[in-house]
Symmetry: C2
Subunit: 766 residues, 2 copies
Amino acid sequence: MANTKFIKSEFFFEEDVRESVAEVPVDKHQPWPENEKLKVVGKEIPRIDGYDKTSGTALYTFDINLPHMAHAKILRSVWPHARIKSIDTTQAENLPGVLAVITHKNIPEIKWFEDSFLFDTKIRYEGEEIAGIAAETEEIAEKALKLIKIEVEELDFTVDPGQAMKETAPKIHEGGNIVGGNPFTYERGNFEEGIKNADAIIEETYSTQVVVHNPTEPHCSVANWDGDKLTVWDSTQAIFTVRGVVSRALNIPENNVRVIKKYMGGGFGSKLAGGKYTVIAALLAKKTGRPVRLTLDRREMNLAVGNRPDSVQSLKLGAKKDGTLTAMSHYAYGSSGAYQSGAGCSWPFRTVYQCPNVKVEEYTVYINAGPGRPFRAPGHVQGTFAMDSAIDLLAGRINMDPLEFRLKNYAEKDQVYNIPYTSKKLREAYEAGAKAIGWEKRNKQPGVGTGRYKTGIGMGTQIWWGGGGPPAYVTLKLNRDYSVEVLAGSQDLGTGTYTFVAQVASEVLEIPMERISVILGDTGVVPYGPPSGGSVTSPSISPAVRDAAEQMKQKLMKAAAAVLSLKENDLVYKNGTVSSKSDPSKSIFLSDIMGKINEPVLVTTGAREANPEGYMIQTFGAQFADVEVDTLTGKVRVKKIVAAHDIGRVLNRTLLENQFHGGIIQGIGFALMEERIIDGNTGKVLTTNLHDYKLPLITDMPEIEVIIVSEGDPMISNTGVKGIGEPAHIPTAAAIANAIFNATGVQIKSTPMTPDKVLMALSQNS
Amino acid sequence: MANTKFIKSEFFFEEDVRESVAEVPVDKHQPWPENEKLKVVGKEIPRIDGYDKTSGTALYTFDINLPHMAHAKILRSVWPHARIKSIDTTQAENLPGVLAVITHKNIPEIKWFEDSFLFDTKIRYEGEEIAGIAAETEEIAEKALKLIKIEVEELDFTVDPGQAMKETAPKIHEGGNIVGGNPFTYERGNFEEGIKNADAIIEETYSTQVVVHNPTEPHCSVANWDGDKLTVWDSTQAIFTVRGVVSRALNIPENNVRVIKKYMGGGFGSKLAGGKYTVIAALLAKKTGRPVRLTLDRREMNLAVGNRPDSVQSLKLGAKKDGTLTAMSHYAYGSSGAYQSGAGCSWPFRTVYQCPNVKVEEYTVYINAGPGRPFRAPGHVQGTFAMDSAIDLLAGRINMDPLEFRLKNYAEKDQVYNIPYTSKKLREAYEAGAKAIGWEKRNKQPGVGTGRYKTGIGMGTQIWWGGGGPPAYVTLKLNRDYSVEVLAGSQDLGTGTYTFVAQVASEVLEIPMERISVILGDTGVVPYGPPSGGSVTSPSISPAVRDAAEQMKQKLMKAAAAVLSLKENDLVYKNGTVSSKSDPSKSIFLSDIMGKINEPVLVTTGAREANPEGYMIQTFGAQFADVEVDTLTGKVRVKKIVAAHDIGRVLNRTLLENQFHGGIIQGIGFALMEERIIDGNTGKVLTTNLHDYKLPLITDMPEIEVIIVSEGDPMISNTGVKGIGEPAHIPTAAAIANAIFNATGVQIKSTPMTPDKVLMALSQNS
């Protein structure tokens, strides 16, 4: 509302998936007590969709097989930068089995990012969409792609953001290569004064690479028209976003588009927006009058559906001898690819450590490469890597323990908006994590060890929103046989949404989990909820489930009072039975209540309440890495990660650990091996398969210990849950970098910290 | 509730589809003004599903075609009464293409009506289910039916209820042939005293035949299992009832069963319960591991899925010379078929006309025939035929105009529960109807005309519940592009539910109908609502739609107040725009409100409020028939029907007239031609196709004039709507009978009033 203090992050240029404002406040329910006093919530409960997934009966988008279905492929640019002069699709159309070919010539003009179109005549990166083909089989469609003849004018290209920022660089968009024309800037206090007051100063440049999401399940859409109604099965993190994108692209109302996604094999941000492939599938389905399936292959995924922007970050930090930070500056730039996506990474830098004098200037830069997309904690992974590396360096300069240094500069409140946190238990996370990793065993002097294998311990700090918020709705249907359907405005990425929704409903209604069905991922069925990104799902949805279930309990209590002719305040609810406190012989089971009032199904709708005004909601945590560096080969082995976090209430310990395992191994991938490489001479991506693009393997998995220091954040919602998707991943790379530093005495200032870089650094140091 | 005065009818033994009790009162909204002040409601708006239906794109259950689907048929008894000694299915199973055969021998015992089972070893009527077969094609399944060998012990049977009531009759169930063992009785005042005070007395016996619903669309189920989840596409008037029946039969929780029905070609009560065919389809699908479709043919529909019980009604009525009714008695019996269904028909007799002394005794009797089922106004059509025939006879005895006689005995309040009506405009209906038919032109002396063709005018009076009530829920989703989805807990029989739901939402939100999608008929998607029977759909659902839409408007107003920084009471809502009353330059369209508060979809759930306590809700009406009797052939031609009714508010004039057209032509079928005939010697039904069972044709359609005298009933709900499905049909036959009486001077006391009966009566009179 007008006078609501609403903290929005700067990192989402498109559909913001985090905080929101509720116009209608929903009553908060009494906060739950600690988990040990709850029966279902917080427990180690296996995921309820586990059998379906492990038995292979779970249907993913690719498994959707409609009668008479056609198959589609996309023709993509082989040029990094070009202008199309002509397209001839005659030969492709004449290939037997080809059903339809669409290009910019025969479809309505559909606007896409900024000044571009679905099929644009200006090509801005290798892999950009030029045409779509539907055919009887995928093989025929693939063959037909090669029969399309294109004449282009090749343009000079740039694939390096540092070069792209220059005036002389080829322009990717008319407005120049700096997104928005200007850098993002931020300043508090007086940086120059702060530096003057410092006893020790460091000035360093760190850089991070572009990584690609590469979820297990490929991006896929199946489109089917029924008259003017379109159904799309889509592998997406955001059913309602896809609905909106498709509706606007095709110029049909949203209620004529239904988007379905039951199961999903990961997204990590690459499936947060509606993809061009989805709209192309819908257009081809319309044109052919048949259902159309369009699945991207691994090469397309590595070229065209998003990536984490790279970064070059120049930091200058000053501290007094006692460890007090006096000044910090952060100058950075990163590539957004050919289309707009934020490359900013300064939020941790501005908020994690107490510092009165801070200056930030950062640029997002267009280059001729696949578009950047939010990737598990946009900006935070790269920002934290640089910041926490610099902090360790600075602590070393004044001979201070890096953890002690962090505690010295502990921020009690948010420094950007100057408001308190709803809760912050980072100190407890530091203490618990340090104890678990054996912080005292670290090398007091970095690199002091001897021999081929050197070990070290390092840490990184995490901050992230993750408080969720409205709008998020849940419809709950209680049937007379005490089976329950919960329709939640959400979708499951594979993170366990099905399970925690059932847990919360089970906790409140005291009905066994087995009696509860959870329905997600269908815009035609579920009410509404946010995209599953930004760690908002559990903090947004779980309170709405609780609200719906509490309303249901109230309905049952009210009805029972009438049926038993007792006062409501004389009644108690336990295991689905309402009993009189004064006369326990009077009791009635919920099915019987429903029978008496002739309501075979009771229905409630719950909603996520508004977040408190004037407070900052953040998750906090620290990860500690214990690594071994092979000084002969340069190979780093992560032996153990301790993750100690404040993420509010744990809904399910098993699912929580799953999330941490995934986040940490993805952090190891970022830290040590993953990298998209573009050949600067040709503008071609060299890493378009999983042989060339190195993902971590099961053999790279360290021992992981997860410690949660929080019991819930009662200020934010009735469940007090914060999200964990991003927090689990943010500080891993920083912790590993600092552990390598602790082991070897040298900092690797560029990710991925591959053996060649480690060896190079070691040789320069010796 | 305990202290809620709750009026339930006696006519529904199974799932009651009419009144209910809400445990949680829902706020009533201000009643709407008369229709002429509304913009959408009440107007002649074509049905929104009209194009789908007339173009053939609408999918009915039979159109559901799943990959790998098998086809099923049911083996039915050829004996009216028998005990199965053995079944040998070997040959059937060995027929190539047969996938599964189920009988009582290889499925779990599934209880059905009373003491019977899904597949019972005791056969109680010709057409009863014995086995189910699934095969690759329907033809193979049909062929396999003939290969099942059955040995039975044939039992004596009875197909006449009068005979069946006797002690010596063959027993169809252990407890004897009178359902419940005793008659239903009712008495008020002192009948014998009333008769003593009468100046004129008549004593007559009327009888009505069994008619079969025979909807256009055959009964059909498609069952498909996905693990332990079952989806059933079913041609049903009651998705939630079918869900319950299937869930209980298969012993699985209700949330594991999803019942879907999008379009339907009529039911008239025959599709109100879950059918055996649905459970058989589910069992065969489980056994074969494939989807199974099972469609009944016309013969099966005429044997086994319900019918309207016949009746024999002996009436004794007394009146004073001035027309005051002094006493009425009603002794009746009717057949329920082989399984329990109420044959009672005395409600109109007890309530339509003011009379202090009334006595009723009525029996429902088992016979060896297909089970009775509710059929468009259970009991009322046959009861009204007898009652209104007797009234005309009695009026004639004292030389009083039958309409004057009815007005003389006008009941101002309900006489059974001695409570007022929420509204009653029967007097206005009488007046308007009489005027429209030209009542003054009727034969002052019945039968006075001369010549081959004699004409006459007659009337009948209608009473019926039709007030609806809770539980009925509606979820409304407003999208940012001001498209709307309304998910209503209901299903459409073909009566226009899709359309009126959209109208009500459009009226409140002031959004064009084209922007509104209505979703019905899917237990997995819609909240909850009553079966579509008993004329409850529009009176139950329309207030829930209005409630959901009004809540949505309130949400928008509240949000707009905050966004515009104005007070809510300064705001006015018009055409989706909220404006300031004091400063009209300040206004905001709903999409912009939603954008400002970052809610891409707003969700509300509405519910039907409780009916008022201590009041009787009834619909009222009178139909007037103008007929021509060919005294040479005995053929009756209905020239015109005027239907004048009090049914609360008209939601859609076009749909209303459609309902009346259907109800009246069905009334003509009942009055003049339809009849199920069983051969008493063999126990076999002789009318199992539409050649032998005579339905009215388009050529039988009279001129119809529909007059609605009511503007809404603000006491019952926020829309003030009463149902019209039953009211449209109830008095037609009585009006025709009285018109024949008026034309010829003789009463035909038995329906259908076929030419042979007319000629016989004329010859006896001359």
